[in-house]
Symmetry: C2
Subunit: 525 residues, 2 copies
């Protein structure tokens, strides 16, 4: 209890007040919608369903007001769709006047598993405080319980922990005020001839919509933060759908407003109580500021934003280059963290090299557009780094890029080298096909984030059919497994996988999984 905790090494933030002011002015108008539960459900064991649980409708939610709940009794409601918002519950006592408070437990879940498995047994390594469960006492009944927090859910469980022997309660009215900053009226509809792609697009759009709040959040249930890696993909999906371009601009300004003393951009920002740059810096994420700005300019042609934020972007390139060793290869040691993907054994060197090249190329494009004289220098560096990659990271014998001192072969390395255009297109195609034929030897992908890049790499090498097949196998299967919104994590071979030690804590509506709508629409799949 009295043990002091060491704060992490202090990082000094050099706030750019002007950028912060621009971001503040761009705060979006939130759009609200009133939603009601659709069904009363039972959650039953079913080993064929994801996590082993199935929600089964048993009664229309309109019947709820007629049901009475005493000590220990509970009900599970299904809102019929994933929602992000606040809850209000009108609770009426039945019996004698309530001679003791009502003690009520409220559990919210995106998935049936959250309704079925008790949170008290959660033992994962992310904080249990993310589990959406409240206990409240109501001293005065009847009354409306307005829960102050915002939840991300489809299912709601109400359990009466206690009343008194003299009364029970009924839940007369339950409503969720759903919230988003995504404007559906701006959404161009997709009418696809392939109903499976149509469905994948719809779930993607819904996923994006739920994550579009005052910023692009990574997940409305867990983290709820603005992450640069997620932002990049959300922005891409957004340009094809809601066109909430001001929100992208706001997020770019936010990141640019809170660099550290060296100009390095944080991996993520907290928005409350005020904007705070997290003390997490990821090699790849900082670099993606360049790509995100690049994509934003391509979508909007907003030159003044580009001009204003270009120095911040260029600075990420400079810092990225500082990690190069004398060979022109990103140094791999214990001191850094590059995200790339969740796989615990994944070596980050080769994919980081590729991501550096990927962003250098976008920087070069922007420098050309802006007439920045450092253009030539960038071009030269791209050449050097590409050559270094081929010389030191390409293994001609196996035909794969290798990473780290253990010469690890991973999907991530191959995919990012393809996306970075390190190989000529024909060789990129061969590499991707080799990878597909030989899938067990490489460190696999472990997140939709990585699978997105895999699909995009297939498209880039011209394998559109393989891309579509891959998308259906992954996001299409996720829908078959019950996704209303796309999940943070999904392994078709191990559907309850969680890198956090429990699927209860996984986010089932996650920004980085919303990209199929971008891939389908952008590439007209």
């Amino acid at each position: 209890m009295t043990q002091a905790m060491q704060r992490q090494e202090a990082v000094t933030i050099h706030k750019n007040e002007a950028f912060a002011a621009v971001a503040e002015q761009l705060k979006p108008r939130l759009i609200y919608r009133e939603c009601s539960p659709k069904q009363i459900v039972h959650v039953i064991k079913n080993e064929h369903m994801i996590h082993g649980w199935q929600a089964e409708g048993v009664q229309n939610a309109e019947d709820l007001a007629d049901l009475l709940f005493g000590k220990g009794e509970e009900v599970i409601l299904d809102f019929g769709e994933h929602l992000v918002g606040k809850l209000a519950i009108r609770i009426v006592p039945v019996g004698s006047p309530p001679d003791a408070p009502l003690h009520l437990q409220i559990t919210l879940g995106e998935m049936p598993v959250e309704m079925a498995e008790p949170f008290s047994e959660y033992n994962g390594w992310l904080s249990s405080s993310w589990l959406q469960e409240e206990r409240v006492h109501l001293d005065v009944l009847p009354g409306i319980l307005n829960l102050e927090r915002r939840y991300s859910f489809r299912y709601l469980k109400l359990k009466v922990l206690d009343t008194s022997p003299k009364y029970k309660v009924s839940f007369e009215e339950i409503s969720c005020t759903a919230v988003t900053s995504a404007d559906r009226s701006a959404l161009s509809p997709l009418i696809h001839t392939d109903p499976e792609l149509q469905a994948i697009d719809e779930v993607s759009v819904k996923t994006l919509e739920e994550c579009m709040q005052e910023v692009f959040e990574d997940g409305p249930k867990r983290d709820r933060r603005l992450w640069l890696g997620d932002l990049r993909l959300q922005a891409l999906a957004n340009y094809e759908t809601f066109s909430g371009n001001e929100l992208v601009k706001r997020c770019l300004y936010l990141f640019a407003a809170y660099p550290d003393e060296r100009g390095r951009i944080t991996a993520n920002l907290f928005m409350k109580p005020q904007v705070i740059a997290d003390d997490t810096y990821l090699y790849d994420y900082s670099l993606f500021f360049v790509a995100t700005l690049h994509d934003y300019f391509l979508a909007t042609e907003d030159l003044s934003t580009l001009e204003e934020l270009w120095p911040s972007a260029y600075r990420q390139i400079e810092l990225g280059l500082e990690r190069l060793d004398e060979r022109g290869i990103v140094t791999d040691d214990e001191s850094w963290w590059s995200f790339i993907d969740w796989h615990p054994k994944l070596n980050k060197q080769a994919p980081s090299q590729a991501i550096l090249i990927y962003n250098l190329k976008r920087a070069l494009h922007l420098a050309s557009l802006l007439g920045d004289e450092r253009k030539d220098e960038l071009e030269q560096v791209i050449g050097t780094l590409t050559q270094a990659a081929m010389e030191h990271l390409w293994d001609p014998e196996s035909g794969y890029f290798i990473s780290g001192s253990q010469r690890q072969v991973s999907y991530a390395s191959q995919i990012w080298m393809v996306l970075a255009g390190v190989l000529v297109p024909e060789h990129g195609k061969e590499l991707m096909l080799r990878l597909l034929d030989d899938e067990n030897s490489a460190i696999p992908m472990s997140t939709p984030y990585m699978v997105h890049h895999f699909i995009e790499a297939l498209i880039q090498v011209g394998e559109r059919e393989l891309a579509i097949r891959g998308m259906k196998k992954y996001w299409g299967q996720m829908i078959k497994d019950g996704a209303d919104t796309f999940w943070e994590l999904y392994d078709p071979k191990d559907k309850s996988f969680s890198p956090y030690g429990s699927p209860l804590i996984n986010s089932y509506c996650h920004a980085w999984s919303c990209t199929p709508t971008y891939l389908i629409r952008k590439y007209k799949l």
Copy 2:
């Protein structure tokens, strides 16, 4: 879950709007006071202490802000006095920016046992919803947690259920806004030569103060309701101390405003969401409306209130008399409930007979004052009932009043017959002394409420020294056992006794236990 619950037999309330309006206008001004914790304590096992637990100071509460708390860590604070009020806690994160909500458990207790024994193991028969424990999630830190509910406590335990590995929290500032409608500036101090009586008086006054809110509550922790039996005693203590006579008037009007269709006054009222008469009717409590009005008039000489409420009081007498059998004895059967005392085996017939006579005598006094022509009738009935009591309930052989078909001898029967003046003073004195000499054969007293009447009966028969000794043995011992305010329940021979199955749910600041200040001051003990 869907099982319907039968409402208790419907009682129709005939609301008197005019009386309700008077009560509403008399709503007292609440007085607020800011209080801080005094010490950090450990609660340790000590079999010599009440409930086996002792709070031991370990650090000044001012040091609290320097301590950090991570997952599973907790602190117990002692405010140094019993408080009724609302809590505010300023919570500051230490470490990286909070990347997960704080999940905090807040436990409040009047006694060390509430800090030591987990509420999850509570298995008593009163609703566990009275146990003062909250679980809250804080999404934004630093922040001030303002708990909405009012608590009754001296001790506060804060336990971090979870944060995240990246941060801990400190509790920078904790304050309680204590509330009462008792005005200390109106309190006449007592300077007693006997320090033990002085201390008993002080704790009595504090108990009364804590229970004086928008009405006289029975206990600020549990029930928090206006009970007629408690009101009568609180009013008596109040006349000698805070003189909050308007509050007594308000409570009298409240009871008179919500009779049933027969004019019967409820045992208690709920105040929220609006005034509701409980569907509990107690034979003795309804009758005590007469005594309470009588005492109020003696203290205030407020004739207009007496005139206005006299019909309500008289109606209780009429209804009380309806229970008489042909012998003039209160009928004992399965259909009624007279409170008298908590002892599970106590027969209520004889004490109820005495309480009817006790209130008849006060009604007679009021009728005389008002010139009510029914005075003579009342006088005659008192004679009849007294004679009937002597004839059918007095057992000359044992020298005790007996009650019920089993001819039960109880403290309650003897005490109330003495208080009702059924015996001539000399015989009353003999009876009380006989009872004291012979304490094991009679059904004993089980609440401070009953012990109060025992002490008053001793005073009434002139045994002032025995009364003082009894008071010290009971309330004095309660103080030695750690009472800051007097407890709802106390058995010096079985200190953890609870009629509810667990001492956790007992109220440790209870209206009916506040009477020593009345006895000491009124009778100049």
